[in-house]
């Protein structure tokens, strides 16, 4: 059961790949073949992205923005320390110590969350698949242009009829 849950993604994706592959090799219509190829490609992408997923992770966009996390933590710590000085004047030493401790805790918490406590999914498969998607559409466009030219030359896009026309020359 654990194996099923752990590998379910891969097996279903292999099923999708095989459906696409079957369309590619068993159907004679050239446009249908290209659709099957496109299905196959997208299923391969799903496989790679499944390999890159980390349980409990999030999208690989760093939290806290452009170093703002550390700045915010320092500001919070600074404000707390400033408030602590004022509190010392008004309320006396004990309250001032508590406020200073709170400021230090805020700083420590800020540093901890900025230092990689968040889990990110692996960004490398994402980069690879981004490239693959764009290359896939490029090859699909070239394939469709070839289909259009074949239709104009042979009058048909069924593979059997094209083969018969070539044989009968």
């Amino acid at each position: 059961m654990n194996f099923l849950v752990g590998h379910y993604n891969y097996e279903v994706v292999i099923l999708l790949m095989m459906v696409g592959f079957y369309i590619l090799i068993s159907r004679g219509n050239l446009v249908k073949k290209l659709l099957g190829l496109s299905l196959f490609q997208t299923s391969v992408f799903i496989m790679y992205i499944s390999l890159g997923k980390v349980a409990g992770g999030t999208a690989p966009i760093l939290m806290g923005g452009h170093g703002g996390d550390d700045h915010a933590a320092e500001d919070a710590g600074g404000h707390a320390v400033g408030g602590a000085d004022q509190a010392a004047e008004v309320l006396g030493n004990a309250a001032a110590e508590v406020a200073q401790a709170a400021g230090q805790t805020a700083e420590a918490a800020g540093h901890a969350s900025g230092a990689g406590e968040v889990l990110y999914s692996n960004p490398l498969p994402h980069v690879l698949i981004l490239t693959a998607i764009v290359v896939g559409i490029a090859t699909t466009a070239v394939g469709l242009s070839l289909v259009i030219r074949i239709k104009e030359s042979y009058g048909t896009i069924e593979e059997d009829e094209i083969h018969d026309m070539d044989e009968s020359l």
Partner: protein, 141 residues
């Protein structure tokens, strides 16, 4: 009333927002999902929508074919040009550290420039491919 009024008014309202959204995706690719490829495709989609609603003739008047042809080559040139520029400034090919006074800003500028190159190429390729497919007549055999 012409029966295509809804399509035409809708497209007229949407196309400027699609173009601005494409630019948003391009420039916020550093801070969220996005980047050159997505932005190029969305930018091209605005022109393809215009072609679907107003006809290919009008679209060819708005965006003559030489513009997408030029853009697709220009983007690759920008990308390779950034690499040659960094070589000219003394570092290796495509090492963006030398593009500004400090490496982090150099990386920012480098990434902005190459993503712009990618945007321009992808826009040109998608629109030119659409023109090639849509501008062709059908021979019924």
């Amino acid at each position: 009333m012409d029966d295509k009024v809804i399509l035409r008014v809708g497209a007229k309202l949407l196309i400027p927002f699609i173009l601005v959204f494409a630019l948003y995706v391009q420039f916020h690719g550093d801070y969220g999902p996005g980047g050159g490829f997505q932005a190029g495709v969305i930018f091209a989609a605005a022109f393809i929508l215009y072609a679907l609603v107003y006809g290919l003739g009008n679209t060819l008047r708005v965006l003559p074919p030489w513009i997408p042809y030029l853009c697709s080559a220009l983007g690759v040139l920008i990308f390779a040009g950034v690499g040659l520029l960094t070589m000219g400034l003394g570092a290796e090919f495509l090492n963006y550290d030398v593009l500004a006074h400090d490496p982090e800003h150099g990386q920012h500028y480098g990434i902005l420039l190459v993503e712009f190159g990618v945007l321009v190429t992808v826009f040109g390729v998608m629109v030119a491919t659409f023109y090639a497919f849509a501008g062709r007549g059908r021979i019924d055999s």
